[in-house]
Point group: C2
Chain length 108, copies 2
């Protein structure tokens, strides 16, 4: 997945998904790739940043509005992935919805 998302001027929204994975990998990578592809086609999607380290995973997705986040949550393929996540792939996770108030980008 990508590096640093090129987001527009704030305000915009971020969904912070932080998780502890199980040792079950069955179908996970394929599903994760499909979800990124689907999310990026969704109206209001602004970008994604993700890093996995051993069992830890952090994925931040950026959105134009709370409504875009709601629609992504309700996406039917995404709902199936959410259920598989709970049954197979995650021991625990947190979801946080935030309003990005300011940002700074540095390139050295």
């Amino acid at each position: 997945m990508s590096g640093i998302a090129k987001t527009p001027q704030p305000p915009y929204y971020a969904v912070l998904f932080t998780s502890q994975r199980t040792e079950v990998d069955k179908g996970y990578v394929k599903m994760a790739e499909k979800m990124v592809e689907l999310a990026s086609q969704q109206e209001g999607f602004l970008g994604l940043e993700s890093a996995c380290e051993n069992e830890k995973e952090i994925t931040i997705s950026y959105w134009e509005s709370l409504n875009a986040i709601k629609e992504w949550k309700e996406n039917s393929a995404h709902k199936i992935a959410q259920e598989r996540g709970k049954s197979d792939w995650y021991n625990k996770f947190a979801l946080r919805v935030c309003k990005v108030e300011r940002d700074n980008f540095f390139e050295m």
Copy 2:
């Protein structure tokens, strides 16, 4: 570093630090550990989540208020680390300051 931060009821604040590292490691791990220790002693600090995958790094820190974030930014040891980050450890990074409006925790 820790897994999923135990944050209080929203609203609270999050600083999203997403970066692309250089190949320079000199002093990085030690400094990163010291910064986590210092931040956690700072008034208003609520928790931290971090994952590194190859050159990608995502660190999310949680704070009670914008003022607590400002004080951490101005911490003198942290300022030295910020300069070392720009000169040695990072090719590029983004910093985003967010207000967490809602959250959900799941344990399977």
